[in-house]
Assembly symmetry: C2
């Protein structure tokens, strides 16, 4: 076991895009285990867009990371010391270990992982927080009906890819928006999306309209920005919009120039009787068993699939995270820590 704990702390709060200078790699002593606790060694660290919010001091649904503290993050960790009989040494758990080699826990929030059921990293993706975000938001708020059209952006990512696949399983038409021809091909050829639209292509509004000849009934909102603008005019009456992320705006330093389009948005809400509803996955924590049963079952049966983008080494997490916000990853972004 390494004697030192490498950890990546928040060095300063970014104004706009984060750069490597906003992070700092430190070494500290491996924390010691107190009564009832376990010592966890991080095997894999999940990188997710919500972490950009934690770097800011702005009020949100979770407290910001303090300057000088390790970045928070979901991990697959191995129990290397244990004073907690629920989590014996050698067991794998999903945890919130953060961007570091070692962390301690009294067991709160830990989930045992059975590597015989699925690869452990799925606990950070399709069987973890991103998968459950897709499952709960789509089915509880979006409620796609057979024959309806479901649109999702960042569709090659862990949330979007499952949104589209579940939409298909429910008999809806899935249209994915992604950046570049490789991702778009992946959507239609490997994931079974009915259509894919490249948001880096020439005329996003026209391409999206062509891909949605019967309009849009469910827009699973995780990006905002130009995609949101292209979606709005295509929404059908009674369309539903679960909102779990707005990554296109996470680095914004000021509001877009005028005019103020919020009255237009509200007028559309009224005349089309839209339902726009924000959520975070923990709002639906009572659905975790149904989620694991359904998505776990579909995964075993080969009815849903996923893709991972694995980066080697904790020290590369900042750069990988910066790339994530620019859409550089292809699949669930994971750091292999040890």
């Amino acid at each position: 076991m390494a004697a030192m704990n490498r950890r990546i702390v928040l060095a300063s709060r970014p104004h706009g895009e984060p750069t490597p200078a906003h992070f700092r790699l430190e070494e500290s002593r491996v924390p010691s285990v107190r009564a009832g606790e376990v010592l966890l060694r991080t095997r894999w660290l999940s990188l997710d867009p919500y972490m950009r919010g934690r770097m800011s001091a702005a009020k949100s649904y979770a407290a910001p990371v303090a300057i000088g503290e390790p970045m928070t993050g979901g991990t697959v960790s191995e129990v290397v010391e244990s004073d907690n009989p629920d989590f014996p040494v050698g067991s794998l758990v999903s945890a919130f270990g953060g961007w570091q080699d070692f962390s301690t826990s009294d067991g709160t929030g830990l989930q045992r992982i059975d590597p015989a059921l699925a690869p452990p990293t799925t606990a950070l993706g399709i069987l973890g927080m991103p998968g459950m975000t897709a499952y709960t938001g789509l089915l509880t708020i979006g409620r796609p009906k057979p024959g309806e059209t479901v649109v999702v952006a960042a569709a090659a990512g862990p949330v979007g890819s499952l949104v589209g696949q579940i939409a298909r399983l429910k008999g809806a038409r899935a249209v994915g928006i992604a950046g570049g021809p490789d991702k778009c091909r992946y959507l239609t050829e490997e994931l079974g999306f009915d259509a894919a639209v490249d948001h880096r292509g020439e005329d996003l509004p026209a391409s999206l309209a062509a891909a949605c000849p019967k309009g849009i009934d469910v827009y699973f909102e995780n990006v905002g920005g130009p995609v949101f603008d292209a979606v709005l005019p295509l929404l059908n009456d009674f369309a539903r919009m679960p909102v779990c992320g707005l990554v296109a705006g996470y680095n914004a330093t000021e509001l877009p120039p005028g005019p103020d389009r919020s009255p237009t948005l509200m007028r559309m809400v009224l005349t089309k009787r839209l339902r726009i509803q924000g959520f975070i996955v923990w709002d639906f924590s009572d659905q975790i068993e149904a989620f694991l049963r359904d998505v776990g079952g579909w995964l075993k049966e080969g009815r849903v699939t996923y893709r991972e983008d694995v980066v080697e080494g904790l020290e590369n997490a900042p750069e990988a995270f910066i790339g994530l916000l620019k859409g550089r990853n292809f699949g669930k972004l994971i750091v292999h820590v040890s």
Copy 2:
């Protein structure tokens, strides 16, 4: 019976505020009754904000009134000729007779009114479309829980006044926004609202914040504009916003200047997990029996009340309607036609 049918037609489409010049009083022959039809004489005509939308060609949930055609509108009408056994001569009905003395109908959409149960004009207000708008939007989308705070604007009007009273009946705290001290006094002293805020007062955001010390859980949106702006920062996590009208913007000729605040609105939807949902009353037409039973019962028991603002004479409808859009009415605006 008058030999002529006076009717007020849409003379031209307003750009901005309607003026009397956008309407024209015409006389035409009283329409003749065909097989299965009834001839209706308008007794009372309802004036409602949604009619501003019908004067515009912009796409909405209902087709615009054609130039030269009578303005549409709900009426309490008397059957004066009948070839339809369901509606004998002398019976009172609620109808969509429009802004005119006479109309015909094959019975579609007509509802018999029993004047022994409640004054017939309630069919245009608390027991009609405005009342059902309040009832369905508040209870189906807003879902106030005991102890929560419900805010509604245009609170002395037929929709807002019932929203607040039902909120109180459900154990919630009702805060009404209205224009001027008379209306505000009416809210707290006659309708039992917990607080009233005068939007013509000095600092609406501060006054509203003072009236809502525990934030806002349900905002029943029927006005938009500065009230919406004052409400947004006060919304609690998981607040619900039924949207049935945006009357502050109905006469707008252009969008407000920048910056574009729609990203701010969407960010608030996400971080506070808001639910914003548009509706029109007909979306909930399956609730009409529950509505009449509940609100009719409360009205009979004296647990809810209402106020009417009655204008004499069809010829005064345009001016009264123009005043409605400026908040000049005090209670449900009705034209006594004959």
